[in-house]
Symmetry: C2
Subunit: 196 residues, 2 copies
DNA sequence: ACCTGAACACCGTTCAAGT
DNA sequence: ACCTGAACACCGTTCAAGT
């Protein structure tokens, strides 16, 4: 940090904007409310980000970078790939735990018709990161033939995102847990008791 | 119809509002653009709907009623429940085929923090209708124990909604087809070749 | 470098007035 | 019954001007 008073305005804008976007989407992210949270005026945000599109892209970029680091940490924490897969849905559960928020990528995916191209690009990178990680771990877990790993990875990613969306619409985390358990029972995810 | 000039203004508002909401969500639905599509002025909409919340609720109500009728038609068309389940994802595919639109319920689910309560209620009814139909057909197909049918129905609904969301964010219908096929391979949906 | 006042365009809503 | 122009309060966004 530059001084003793905590993170700078740019960083605080990024953090606050992420939280707002996860709850209300890109279109629901407005500079007056955001500025108020940060403690500056709306116009001041433009000193740090050239436009709303620029801010949105920065928020989405930071989001996939953080999510990528979290997945790597999961892998470092447990060398067992089946265990990693079992814990994967937990990364989506955390958003629901935090004021019933949605994955930034999911809420922005729903807005894709109204997203600036530079934001869309970062949202797609988020999906790419998730699928690449799942694909790698699925192969390590010997859950699929290596030729099918990416297809299965995409299926898991889409299904977990769907579970989060549905659970959020009911403000019901236990519904998310129930849906994940159903994915395990059906064989999409490795089983919760015996290794898949 | 009242006269020879086609559906009335109220009906045209409902149809146009549904199309806009499926592309841009409830928050992206505005009376000025909507009125222009219908060919009247924004203020005239208030002659047919008391408020935006009222219009949103009417749109969502009509949407689940239509979807319910479509599912019943599917069931009437084919008496084989496994065949019905196989064709279920097609009802979601149709929205993507129509200008890459999303299920109204999914896009509104993503907006759930900002939805008037009377709209939320109708969105949840949509999910209830889908789950009830799937549950009934799963039992008829003997794919699950009757005690688990609703849980499995919810899983299928969430996974298909997720597939639609992800495919739309890439504007890629073939990705939707691929995801559905993966759900079949993994056992979540009945297989595409042999009966499940 | 960092911030802001003031303006602009837009949106949901209302209402008196039209036919 | 059905529609509209005009207005109101409000909000997202921008930029020239401040320190």
């Amino acid at each position: 940090m530059k001084n003793g008073s905590g993170p700078g305005a740019k960083e605080r804008i990024l953090v606050a904007a992420t939280a707002i976007a996860q709850a209300h989407g890109y279109s629901g992210l407005n500079f007056r409310d955001l500025a108020e949270v940060v403690g500056i005026k709306a116009a001041s945000i433009y000193h740090h980000f050239a436009s709303k599109a620029d801010l949105g892209a920065a928020v989405a970029r930071r989001y996939w970078q953080d999510s990528s680091a979290a997945l790597d940490a999961l892998l470092a924490q447990s060398s067992d790939p089946v265990d990693c897969l079992r814990r994967y849905p937990g990364t989506f559960r955390k958003a629901l735990e935090s004021d019933n928020r949605l994955c930034l990528c999911s809420i922005m995916a729903a807005e894709s018709d109204d997203l600036p191209e530079i934001v869309t690009k970062e949202v797609q990178t988020f999906a790419d990161v998730q699928v690449a990680w799942l694909s790698k771990v699925l192969v390590a877990a010997a859950m699929v033939d290596s030729g099918n790993s990416e297809q299965r990875a995409r299926a898991i990613f889409a299904a977990v995102a769907g579970a989060q969306l549905i659970a959020r619409s009911r403000s019901d985390i236990s519904l998310f847990d129930e849906l994940i358990e159903s994915y395990r029972v059906s064989g999409l995810l490795p089983g919760s008791r015996l290794s898949g």
